[in-house]
Structure formats: structure tokens, C-alpha cells
């Protein structure tokens, strides 16, 4: 038990922070909001040179085989810099291919990801925004050696930039339990696919993607037919925990901007940071971000150990949704009117943090998942031990 960053982790964090401070100023994020592609390709290649995309991918496919905890540190720094890169969607899809894909799929996709040649994304959500298997209606019908996909996906990240997309489909009509879903690796430029950008709070790149008669070879099935839910659930859990890290990085920076501002902004004859009303909300902001980090890294660490981590992921996301939103709000409050100016960079953080609280599971949904684990299984719960309760020796 040692929840502090070790020497390697501190070095990784410091190096990532220094790189992004030099290479990715807020002006880049601002510029990319109206850029057609949405990210600077040269920066994407530079971070590949640092090994970020391949950090947690297997060495034999060009990766560095490092734990998710270290990847979390990178995403935290990317969030801190609000780096406009398709990092999260690429990594989430790549990790799923690495963990649950066939060897041929890995070899076809992962080296390109690690080199920074490839952008990936994934598509789960349809009209019902919850992360439950029954929300997936998109059909994939077997037809000869292919599957034919028909349906509409929403809120797909970076689809315009993506080379490939993991798509959750229904392959068996009536869901019995969690069965009947399958995950496919789809070429994003396949005939029959069209997409429309959504206009979002963070001015990031999300699309509604329509699949009409899209043919996917059977070899592109990731995991087993009809047994896709556990693969998808693990993907969503990793995606959620990594989004928490990204959100916390942004929230900590947002809090720091307010703290620094309060040290030199004067009112009533002294810096506003000398007023306890300001000091106490600054203290709360840091306490919350620290709490979110502890929850998030515990979830990532458990995944690294191969332990069940769904409850830990939901703990982290529900907490981060609440607390990061509050941090962003307080930071705006401390800045006062100036914080609303488009010219000031603060609003870039506010809009992203707010948007990320709404992605990958809203607070109520994650708390409902925790409540199921706590209340709908037998046995006495104890903090620090797994829920649902497992039998003690």
C-alpha cells in the first residue's frame, strides 16, 4: 500500500507536463475548435514519438506494455493541457483490440496506432444514453462470410478523423441476459457509412453515424459472437476511468488558475486569496480533485491487477462528475466577470470539464450501478473489501 506517485510515475508526469506546456498551449485548443480535422497532425505524431498512444499496448505490437496507471497519468496531463488530440478514443479502442482482439486484428491495427499513423474510435450509444446492453438496437446480420450492419450510433468521438471504429451490434434478436451483442472492427470509410457532426459544448468532434447496409468481414469480429457484452463492458470501464483521469487533470489546472488569480487580484485593499471565503473554496477544490484522483487510480490499479473494478470505476466517475463540475464552477466564481470572457482561456477548461461530466455515464447511472452491487447481492458489506461481497476464507 503506497498511494503516492513513485519516482518513475513522477518523472513520467513531469515530462508529459513539460512537453505539453511547450508544445500545446491553450491557443492550440482554441484554434482546433474551428479546425475541420479537430487536431494538429504534427502534435499527434510527436506524442507517438513519446510513446503515448502505445503506452499500454503489447510490446510485440509496437507498444510499451506499461500499466494503465501510467496511461492514466498521461491522460491526466493531456486533460490538464486540454490537448486537442484524439488520444482517448484511439487508446480505448486500441486497448480493447489488444486485450480481446484476435492476433491478426492486433497486428493489423496496433503498430499503426503506436506509430501515430492511425486514429481509432468506438461506437456504443444509440438513442437511449445509458450504458446497458439492452440499449443496443443496431443489427448485424450474418450474410455469407460477412455481417451486414444497419442502424445509427450517437456521440461517436473523432469519427471524421478515425480510420477504424469498434461498433457494438446486436447479433441475436431477443436478449437473454447480457447475451446477443457482438463487437466489430469496422473500417470507418466503408461504403454505406455516413456521419453528421454534432455541435457540442466543448466544440469537440462527435458525430451521429448512420450505417446503411455496411458489410464487415467475419474476421473483424472482436471476441466471440453474441458474447460481446463482457468485452464491451470492460472497454467502457477502461474508457470511463481514463476519462476521469483526463477530467481530473483539467479540473486541477482549472483550480490552480483560480488559486493563482486570487493571489494577485486585489479587492478591498488586499488579494482576494487572503479572504477566507475564497481560501475555503480553494481548499475544497483541491480536496475534491485529490479525492477523485485516489478513486480513479485505485480503479486503474485494480484493472492492472486483473481484479474486478466496475464498482471502483463508477465510484470514480460519479464523484468526478459532481466534484469536477463544482471545481469548474468555483473557478469561474473566483474569476468573476473576467472568467466569462471568451478572450480568457479559463472558459476553454470550463466547457470541456462540463462536457466530460456528461460523457460515459451520468452521475445517477453510476450510482445506480454501485447501489446494485451494494444492495442486490447477499452478504455484509465492508469498506475496503470487494462489493458485491465475496465469501471470506
Amino acid at each position: 500500500m503506497d498511494v503516492l506517485l513513485d519516482a518513475d510515475e513522477r518523472m513520467l508526469r513531469d515530462a508529459a507536463r513539460a512537453f505539453l506546456e511547450a508544445e500545446c498551449p491553450p491557443a492550440t485548443a482554441r484554434k482546433m475548435e474551428s479546425d475541420p480535422l479537430g487536431y494538429p497532425p504534427d502534435l499527434w505524431r510527436k506524442v507517438a514519438g513519446l510513446g503515448w498512444q502505445g503506452m499500454a499496448l503489447p510490446e510485440r505490437h509496437g507498444g510499451l506494455d506499461l500499466p494503465l496507471v501510467q496511461l492514466g497519468i498521461i491522460l491526466e496531463e493531456a486533460g490538464r493541457a486540454i490537448a486537442p488530440l484524439p488520444l482517448h478514443s484511439t487508446i480505448v479502442a486500441a486497448l480493447t483490440i489488444a486485450k480481446d482482439g484476435a492476433d491478426a486484428q492486433r497486428e493489423a491495427v496496433l503498430p499503426g496506432v503506436a506509430r501515430g499513423d492511425t486514429v481509432l474510435t468506438w461506437a456504443f450509444t444509440e438513442q437511449d444514453p445509458r450504458f446497458l446492453p439492452e440499449t443496443v438496437k443496431m443489427r448485424a446480420k450474418a450474410d455469407g462470410g460477412d455481417f451486414v450492419i444497419e442502424g445509427v450510433k450517437l456521440f461517436v468521438d473523432n469519427f471524421a478523423a478515425a480510420d477504424r471504429c469498434l461498433v457494438a451490434c446486436r447479433t441475436a434478436p431477443a436478449p437473454t441476459g447480457n447475451a446477443g451483442l457482438s463487437l466489430f472492427l469496422v473500417d470507418a470509410k466503408s461504403p454505406g457509412i455516413s456521419h453528421t457532426p454534432l455541435v457540442t459544448l466543448a466544440k469537440d468532434r462527435q458525430s451521429e453515424v448512420v450505417f446503411r447496409n455496411v458489410r464487415v468481414p467475419r474476421a473483424n469480429l472482436v471476441g466471440e459472437l453474441h458474447q460481446g457484452w463482457p468485452v464491451i463492458e470492460r472497454m467502457l470501464d477502461r474508457a470511463t476511468a481514463l476519462l476521469c483521469a483526463q477530467m481530473l487533470g483539467a479540473a486541477r489546472k482549472d483550480a490552480e488558475m483560480a488559486i493563482e488569480y486570487s493571489k494577485y487580484r486585489e479587492a478591498f485593499g488586499q488579494p482576494i486569496g487572503a479572504f477566507q471565503s475564497i481560501q475555503h473554496i480553494c481548499a475544497d477544490m483541491i480536496i475534491w480533485v485529490d479525492g477523485g484522483c485516489l478513486l480513479t487510480y485505485e480503479a486503474l490499479w485494480k484493472m492492472d491487477q486483473g481484479l474486478p473494478a466496475s464498482v471502483e470505476v463508477s465510484q470514480a466517475k460519479a464523484f468526478c462528475n459532481d466534484k469536477c463540475a463544482a471545481v469548474a464552477r468555483y473557478s469561474q466564481t473566483i474569476h468573476g466577470g473576467i472568467g466569462f470572457m471568451m478572450e480568457l482561456d479559463l472558459q476553454l477548461w470550463f466547457r470541456r470539464i462540463s462536457a466530460w461530466t456528461m460523457r460515459l455515464g451520468a452521475t445517477f447511472e453510476h450510482r445506480a450501478r454501485i447501489a446494485r452491487a451494494l444492495l442486490d447481492h447477499p452478504g455484509r458489506v465492508v469498506l475496503g473489501r470487494p462489493v458485491p461481497v465475496v465469501a471470506e476464507d
Partner: protein, 411 residues
């Protein structure tokens, strides 16, 4: 980062649990009932009978007291995380093996060789116990304004003044006493710490009664005790060797102990016990046709409390990690002392709203739930947010020490 315990620590945890099952007997439980003194649970020093004292002999024989302390002072030379594992298991059974409290680390850090050899083994064994003589009638939050005076006369200090809320002074053996030794110096620079036997002539201990534990709360509930004390000093003479560390450096020395008081197994559990209890209670109970566990509003609140409780646990782990590295808290101990007590209060208040009128019923009442543990917690929970530095003072510390925010102008 490592969020797991070692296989050895997990094995030790199981061993402690088995020990508790075997040795925390009905006779021990009967002696504990109704006594909520000190932090969580009974100690050898506060035991009311032979069964608890016998239990402590067995615990000591296993080498489970003072695990992280050096061997030459009666400890086991182990690590702080292992000690935490043992402390948590015992605290869950209402047995307090963290008897050395915060005074032993302060003595270890600042004491003379003679003081270390005299006090630490006896503190670890539970033979000695320190009550904390900090707060005075004129100041709690503004601790440095203390006025209790000690004047050096030859080889002695002569103490005159008064302390308030000196919990445990009626059963502890010693006082960890903060006194003013230089009234002319700036207030933080004229304070010293004296280690004072409570049996010294001139000391008077009088009870102060609080709203807690009336009627007596069941074990495992509320933070502290219904009785605390005021202590008067009339020409109390102690030898100059009672001084801990240097004269007038007591503010820093006192902070060592206070910082450690704000963290640890007992502090953690007192903030989160009721989270576990309410989940386990609603899993198994209903009110006639109404099943709280199926109520969506209650499910949402229970999950929210559970998440917050996990943050309490993880902040405790962070503090233990810092202590294990031999570091000092910048702001982390204060941060934990904001988050966890306030969580405990939110839990108590949320449970009140889950249970409605049943939430009022105290121990001994007809229809009381779980001996009234939730009702007693309403009175006990926020004490933790006040003592050893209120949550407001803690936020000041996080802001100034942790974030470098400036001090305001003096009013």
C-alpha cells in the same frame, strides 16, 4: 502507486480477525458496553475490568502493540502500513490498540533518549496514557493564544492556569501539556510542551458533561465520550526534565502530535462506520410494506455516501503512505480532517432522512433500530469536525500551507 496490501499483511489481517473471534469474548463485550472513551474502543488503560486487561496481555504477547516503533523502545521495528492493518481490525471490534496515540510519535521525534526510554514502552503497553492539555477557556481554534503559564524556577517549572475539554484527564496517567514559557515573544514562539503526570499535586480535574451518550450509547457509536474535563493548575511543580524538545519550540512539537491525531484507523472508522451499517441494515430490513432498499432515492443516496466513504478510506491510505515514507504532511492531513468528519456528518443527516421518525430513537427505547446507533451518531458525528482543529481551521491550513494563499490583514 500500489493500492494493495502485501500477502503478509493480508495474512496478518486474517490472523487478527481469527484472534478477535476467539478472544473478544462475551465477557470482554460486557465490560465494553456503554463505555465509549477515547477514540474508538477500549484500551488497557480505560478498561473497566479484568477481561479487557487480559485481552491486552494476549495482544501484547502477539507483538501487535506498537508495530511500527523501534525495538529499543518496546516496538516491533515494523512498518506503519502493517500497524494500520492491525489497528483497523481491532478498531472494528471496538478495541483500541493505537494506545500510543499521538504523544508517542511526538516524543520519538522530539524527546531526549531518557524520555524515549521511559515513556514509549509504557505508552505502547497501555500502562501510560496522555490526555491532551491544549484548549483553554478563551481559545480553541486559536490554539496559539494559549495562556496557561509555566515559569522556570531552578530545576523546575511552576505551572499556573486552566485547560478546557481535556478529554480523558480523569483516567489518563499524564498530560501532554502546552504552556506559555515566554509571554513576551510572538504568540507562536513562546510555547513549550511539558509531559506532566496527572498525579502531580496542584492539579484539579473537574468533569464537563456533553450531550453525547445520554443514555449510554452502545459500543461502536459516537465519536467520544459524554464526559470531558476542565483542568486547573495551582503552582504545579514539575522537574525541568518534563520539557519535551526545546523551550519555546512547543508550537512545532505540538503540531507533530496534532497532525497524527487527525488521521488513522480510528479517525477513518468513526467517519464511515454508519455507511456500512446503513447499507447492511437496509439490505435486511423493511418497514411493513415499504422496502427502503428498493426506493430509488435511497439507492442513489446510499451509493453517494459509499463513494464518499471510499474517499475517506483512500485519504487515510494517503496519510499512512506519507507517514510510512517518513514525510510530513504539507496539507494532506488537514485535507483528510476536512473531508472525513464532514462526510460523517452528511452520513448521519442522510440516514436520519432515510429512517424518518425511527432515526430519533436512542439506545434502550422501544423500537430503536440497532440499539439507536444512528440516533446516537447524530450527536456524535460532528464532534469529529470540531476537535483537534475544526474543519474551518483545517481549510485555512490547506489554503495557506498547501496552496500558498496569503494571510488576511488582522482585523
Amino acid at each position: 502507486m500500489d493500492f494493495g496490501f502485501t500477502p503478509e499483511q493480508e495474512a496478518l489481517r486474517r490472523e487478527v480477525r481469527a484472534f478477535i473471534k476467539e478472544h473478544v469474548t462475551p465477557a470482554v463485550l460486557a465490560e465494553m458496553e456503554g463505555h465509549n472513551e477515547g477514540l474508538i474502543g477500549v484500551t488497557r488503560g480505560t478498561s473497566r475490568g479484568p477481561a479487557v486487561r487480559e485481552l491486552f496481555d494476549k495482544i501484547q504477547a502477539r507483538g501487535w502493540l506498537g508495530i511500527s516503533y523501534p525495538k529499543e523502545y518496546g516496538g516491533q521495528g515494523g512498518d506503519r502500513i502493517t500497524q494500520y492493518v492491525v489497528e483497523e481490525e481491532f478498531a472494528r471490534a471496538n478495541v483500541n490498540v493505537a494506545t500510543a496515540g499521538s504523544s508517542a510519535p511526538a516524543i520519538l521525534a522530539a524527546g531526549t533518549e531518557e524520555q524515549k526510554r521511559y515513556y514509549i514502552p509504557r505508552l505502547l503497553a497501555g500502562e501510560f496514557s496522555f490526555a491532551q492539555g491544549f484548549t483553554e477557556p478563551r481559545g480553541g481554534a486559536d490554539l496559539a493564544s494559549l495562556q496557561c503559564r509555566a515559569v522556570r524556577e531552578g530545576d523546575e517549572y511552576v505551572i499556573n492556569g486552566q485547560k478546557m475539554f481535556t478529554s480523558g484527564a480523569h483516567y489518563c496517567t499524564h498530560l501532554y501539556l502546552m504552556v506559555r514559557t515566554d509571554p513576551k515573544a510572538p504568540k507562536h514562539k513562546g510555547i513549550s510542551v511539558l509531559l506532566v503526570p496527572l498525579a502531580t499535586p496542584g492539579i484539579t480535574v473537574r468533569p464537563l458533561w456533553t450531550m453525547q451518550n445520554n443514555p449510554a450509547a452502545p459500543t461502536r457509536t459516537t465519536y467520544g465520550q459524554s464526559r470531558t474535563n476542565e483542568v486547573f493548575f495551582d503552582d504545579v511543580r514539575v522537574p525541568a526534565t518534563a520539557l519535551l524538545g526545546e523551550e519555546n519550540k512547543g508550537w512545532t512539537i505540538g503540531a507533530i502530535g496534532l497532525n497524527l491525531d487527525r488521521v488513522g484507523a480510528a479517525r477513518y472508522l468513526i467517519s464511515v462506520h454508519r455507511d456500512e451499517d446503513i447499507v447492511n441494515w437496509i439490505k435486511e430490513n423493511r418497514f411493513d410494506g415499504y422496502t427502503p432498499a428498493d426506493d430509488p432515492a435511497i439507492r442513489d443516496k446510499v451509493a453517494e455516501l459509499w463513494i464518499e466513504a471510499q474517499v475517506c478510506r483512500l485519504m487515510t491510505m494517503r496519510s499512512m503512505s506519507i507517514v510510512e515514507h517518513g514525510g510530513h504532511f504539507t496539507y494532506e492531513g488537514s485535507a483528510e480532517k476536512v473531508w472525513s468528519p464532514e462526510h460523517g456528518v452528511r452520513t448521519a443527516e442522510t440516514i436520519s432522512q432515510m429512517l424518518g421518525p425511527y432515526g430519533q430513537l436512542l439506545n434502550g427505547s422501544l423500537r430503536a433500530i440497532e440499539k439507536g446507533i444512528f440516533a446516537h451518531q447524530v450527536m456524535g458525528a460532528f464532534q469529529s469536525g470540531i476537535n483537534h482543529g475544526s474543519v474551518q481551521v483545517m481549510r485555512d491550513q490547506v489554503a495557506r500551507r498547501g496552496l500558498g494563499l496569503p494571510r488576511g490583514r488582522k482585523a
